[in-house]
Symmetry: C3
Amino acid sequence: MAADPRFFGPPRPQSLGAIAALLGVVLPEGADGAMVFTGTATLRAATADQISFIESRRYLPALRDTAAGAVFCLPEQAALAPPHCVALAMAAPQLAFARVAALFHPVPPPRPGIHPTAVIDPTAEIGAECEIGPYAVVGEGARIGDGSLLGAHAAIGPWCVFGRGCRILTHASASHTLAGDGVVLHPGARVGQEGFGLVFTAEGRFETAPQLGRVLLGDRVEVGANACIDRGGQQDTVIGAGSRIDNLVQVAHNVTMGKGCVIVGQAGIAGSTTLGDYVTLAGQVGVAGHLNLGSKVRVGAQAGVMSDVPAGQDVLGSPAWPARDTLRAFARLRQLGQPTAKKA
Amino acid sequence: MAADPRFFGPPRPQSLGAIAALLGVVLPEGADGAMVFTGTATLRAATADQISFIESRRYLPALRDTAAGAVFCLPEQAALAPPHCVALAMAAPQLAFARVAALFHPVPPPRPGIHPTAVIDPTAEIGAECEIGPYAVVGEGARIGDGSLLGAHAAIGPWCVFGRGCRILTHASASHTLAGDGVVLHPGARVGQEGFGLVFTAEGRFETAPQLGRVLLGDRVEVGANACIDRGGQQDTVIGAGSRIDNLVQVAHNVTMGKGCVIVGQAGIAGSTTLGDYVTLAGQVGVAGHLNLGSKVRVGAQAGVMSDVPAGQDVLGSPAWPARDTLRAFARLRQLGQPTAKKA
Amino acid sequence: MAADPRFFGPPRPQSLGAIAALLGVVLPEGADGAMVFTGTATLRAATADQISFIESRRYLPALRDTAAGAVFCLPEQAALAPPHCVALAMAAPQLAFARVAALFHPVPPPRPGIHPTAVIDPTAEIGAECEIGPYAVVGEGARIGDGSLLGAHAAIGPWCVFGRGCRILTHASASHTLAGDGVVLHPGARVGQEGFGLVFTAEGRFETAPQLGRVLLGDRVEVGANACIDRGGQQDTVIGAGSRIDNLVQVAHNVTMGKGCVIVGQAGIAGSTTLGDYVTLAGQVGVAGHLNLGSKVRVGAQAGVMSDVPAGQDVLGSPAWPARDTLRAFARLRQLGQPTAKKA
């Protein structure tokens, strides 16, 4: 399936030779570098003027049947491509595919201009070449860097700072936030609001603790649709450069996250927890408060992390244990669930 | 409790005879078809001019004590209604109750007109008899079918298409979306934004894969408050006709869902997973990516589906197994949790 | 770290004597009641003119190294503070800290005025001294009490009532809602929309049940960012006074919650369930529909409550059992996950 030109514009055609050169791969013997491609597609949907890719063995049947004109594949898969399909062998086909897809359909730059309905405080600074959509609101003293985009109804609170090339999309809001360059807030993302700061009394009641921190977003951080990042209470909530936060994720006050973390949809991180660099939390993971997860920790889907995790460890389960232990425990539990299991 | 007329307007009175005729049931001997009712209510709250219902045995005590003037019930429950309460016996009392409640308080039609603050691109097409609320935004080339409603601050991106009789409610947003008739986006729903498309590099870093697909919503699809449906990466995200998605649900890129699916609050479906028709996911369920769930699969609350599920199967637990196995495993696990359990 | 004056304004300096008097504690011998403090901070970040606190033993090393000029602590911790740090011993240091932090940075009152872009229906009533932000929308017949704040893009539906001193923040929406005084809707909160009211037919299809109830919010209820509270179907959804609902929580139709409940991020409560007073649901908890949880029940993180829970009980796990049973079961399960475990 070609990208719908209504939404993505016409593709920018690319020659096979130019693509191979970009990727640093050699064309197989007999391949015509002058072949022109108009886009990318999945193996099943691709046509003769489109490029596809394969990496997982799961899709080998689709490779044999593909109508694609070319395919990026692992070296051992190249011989399985049908004759009409040029197989470009490489170590990372999916990554190459993503890069080449962006050649056909680069992210369109902002269309500079401020919609007449936008409410920009006179003390706010909007950089050069920004696109500010209808009903966007920018508060007192806020600064938006060059080449940034504010979607319809985006709301930036007083004194917030966003760097260059940021995209704050439809209905996203930020307050008490200082952000680097290339930051993206997807639609409905909420950044910088009050954290859930309750202090319980001896009688089991509670009072509100003032939330006097900020949110600091490193360069290229992305915050998914309707995800929430609360500002800190007595310190800042910090998201390291390049970290990606998916839709509907909750990041509570005082969380500190290193660079390059990947937090998948509906995961939640409770207050004052620290994540190192390149930590991955799969979907619906929960991490309790006041914990430390070392760099490159990976947490499996729906796991519940209740204690510190050393760097590099994989954990699974709720409560989360080292992955091997949890997999063994699940296997034994499953045996217990068989009708013939002896009573434990 | 009668519906608050401030919010729902005055009820449209209905005679018992007309109600019985609509439902195709016979009035019990001695019942007066000319009795007039003004609304519906629960057994405990209903008054003499209101109708109630019972289906679950759990509410039998409430039936005995009800002040309702009439009740829809299962045949075997009819004799338990108090003398002042006309018992209409039928196979599906709750369904009848829902239908009759809608007679008293039909969904009000849109009030045609475009609020002067709405920003409608001159190339967009708005159908006949539409109601467009304050600060709604409709982008270039978008089309909204006849009789549709856009709530306050609703935002429809360029080239989106919505059919007839759609309701896009307060603060909902859509982009890259083609929708059928009667589609409802509840407040804050997000449809068509970029999926979480990361490709990891050999060094454990990642790059963004362009998200070049769309969202296709079949007729009568509903998307709950603050729920998210991402657009596809290299294919479309597809939601079949009549499927209902509850609040805060996450549907990732490339998901394909058949018709009549029910996805309960806070469930999440990871990328490229396929659901057949009439699949039910209970609350907080997670389904991993690249899986197939057959038609009429039912997944219990909080389950985590990590592998394919054949059509018609019920699964429970995290990881999810066939319901009987999981229930047995939980029972054995619970025995292990007793103080007197022998060490396993 | 001092609160960033751009976001929180300059602190209001306080003397040590005034602080001690407010808290009802006696200054230790030799302490100078005339010392002036300018704010609060964590033990690690505090400087000589700031106050910190300690309660958990976890932070004892930080106490020994703190540069804070004063610290609130438990009596047995006082001797461990360094010489330059005045230790004020008390029973509830964290609570005192929260109260004193608010002295330095009180929540700023609304700045009375209605932004010229707000759309207020002529029949709506806005109380005295309210601040109504840009693009706020207030529908027909709605009433907003004195001293309330509506943030940018806040949307209040027809006939809603909010009491005095409410804060309805950026992009929050309410419909079919009657709220007391001091209620807070955080950014993107959704209150009063249609519940997920489906009635299944004999054929496995479903129809929509009209949602004819309201949402009643008691005084001082807070609803977190992007959290959802659906209105009732045939009764009201009721949230008792002082209850706090964190970000991304789902409260389904007909739920009744007592006073002082604490519902932590991403928890969900299914339809028609009743919670007593002072119930706590930790993060990502799910509670099934039509259940009763008694007062002071506490549910541990990620637990799944599938049956009634008597007042005062702590439960854990999915399915949730009494906490002791679950902890024992988890311990035995973990043993089963060890490589040396005998086959069960």
